[in-house]
């Protein structure tokens, strides 16, 4: 393996493992900032050691073991410091041993919910939308500050600042590292979905830069959406959002003309639509609808997108259904855009009927 191969492998391991690593560490040290530092320390250790020793068989466990050792060192240092301050002597030593035992127990716990806790924390409403986006891409997506900066065409220090401030805000607000329950869950989940859709839309209709579409961001949002859908399988709107993004992403290749100009939906060559993504979108939509209840805004928008996706030619579009779906959308999420689109659909329905 060459040095650049190892570097590539480390990047790949980080992309796969970092969210779980940070999530697991946060549960133990109860501090998102510290957990990320520990994870970063482990990454630095990997960068130092793997080019020589090779990538370990279980790289995720290796990173966790290193981070865990650093965490225990920190704990010891902190305890030692406290002892000096408070002169508590032997009793504290016993306490330290107990704390360490707890620590080991916690680390061996099932990490099933940790990732979800991380999602809800990174998307906490106490943070601004910009901060939530940056933190989510960084902690859940495993993107570097530089990658986030490049994706949003802002200077790297701006993103770094945003992330530092966001972590401080979370610490100061004492945001607990947990999955919200009951009524709070719905509100907090919509905050998570909003962040993912923001990232998707930044890619789909880029608000900055020369390219008006940046597929890499769409792909990143889709990945995050699929991850969250795998974590909260029983929430219909998560599947609704994934369906919406899959179907919209299916048109990415058809939305740009030969000289880079946008091509409107009805002028698009439908042969260029990605049928696999459409199928995945329709399947996600079905999952959302099967879970029952009133259809939420993402599911309704996905259902509208599905009407277009199912039509092989613009003429085959089921306009009656689209108007009905816009009616439902206008009820639960009224907006000028929804009204406008509804008006267009009504006009077309009138013209073709």
């Amino acid at each position: 393996m060459t040095a650049s191969d190892t570097r590539g492998a480390i990047d790949a391991v980080w992309r796969i493992e970092s969210a779980r690593l940070i999530a697991g560490l946060t549960r133990i040290v109860r501090d998102l900032g510290l957990a990320e530092d520990l994870a970063q320390d482990a990454l630095v250790a990997a960068l130092e050691q793997w080019p020589e020793a090779g990538v370990p068989d279980n790289p995720g466990a290796w990173l966790m073991a290193v981070a865990k050792r650093r965490a225990i060192d920190q704990l010891r240092r902190r305890t030692l410091l406290e002892r000096k301050h408070e002169e508590l002597g032997r009793e504290l030593e016993a306490q330290r041993e107990m704390a360490e035992a707890d620590f080991h127990a916690a680390i061996d716990d099932d990490v099933g919910d940790d990732l979800l806790r991380l999602v809800f924390t990174a998307c906490h409403p106490v943070l601004s939308a910009e901060a939530r986006v940056a933190l989510t891409l960084r902690l859940l997506g495993g993107l570097t500050t530089e990658e986030i900066a490049r994706a949003f065409l802002v200077p790297e220090p701006t993103v770094a600042q945003r992330i530092v401030r966001a972590k401080r805000t979370l610490a100061e607000a004492r945001v607990p590292f947990e999955v919200p329950r009951g009524e709070e869950l719905a509100a907090r989940l919509s905050s998570v979905l909003e962040v993912i859709y923001l990232i998707f839309n930044e890619g789909y209709t880029a608000t900055a830069g020369d390219d008006w579409v940046r597929p890499a961001l769409c792909q990143e949002a889709l990945r995050l959406g699929r991850i969250v859908a795998g974590l909260v399988v029983k929430e219909p709107e998560v599947h609704g959002l994934v369906a919406l993004m899959e179907i919209q992403a299916s048109r990415l290749g058809a939305r740009i003309g030969p000289s880079g100009e946008p091509v409107l939906l009805f002028d698009q060559d439908r042969g260029r639509w990605d049928q696999l993504l459409i199928r995945r979108g329709l399947a996600a939509l079905e999952r959302a609808e099967k879970l029952g209840g009133t259809l939420g805004p993402y599911t309704l928008q996905a259902a509208i997108a599905a009407c277009h996706a199912r039509a092989h030619t613009p003429a085959e579009t089921d306009w009656e259904r689209i108007v009905a779906l816009y009616d439902a959308l206008a009820q639960i999420a009224p907006s000028p855009v929804v009204e406008l689109n509804r008006g267009v659909a009504v006009a077309i329905l009138g013209a073709v009927a």
């Binding site: 590539g8 492998a9 990047d11 790949a12 796969i16 889709l222 990945r223 991850i227 795998g230 696999l276």
Partner: protein, 137 residues
Amino acid sequence: MRVMVLVKANKDSEAGILPDKKILTDMGKFNEELTKAGVMLAGEGLHPSSKGVRVRFSGTKRTVIDGPFTETKELVAGFWLWRVKSMAEAIEWIKRSPFQEGEIEIRQVFEVEDFGPALTPELREQDARLRAQAKKQ
């Protein structure tokens, strides 16, 4: 980028012997992991080549050859389509798969961008011409 991960056939797969419960469970877990990571786009397993055919082309002549085909190790027994950031990521994922023997091949899938800017306008133009013709008819 997208990659296609090709699982090669072996004596058992070609004999139509289905994987045992343990392999199925392990593979199910691996697939779930891929799905939960947002990597998995599609994946299917294939029947043995005895149920397949080959169609050979020679000028205007088409010859249909029935399976099975002999070169077992070169045959495809299943595939995944993954969305990954790099080939390195695909390699890291496949290392986690529960396979105990055999060989897996990973190939990058062509995207529209890969065809290069020179070819695209011509193709697009040709495409537009054909569509205009179709409309007239």
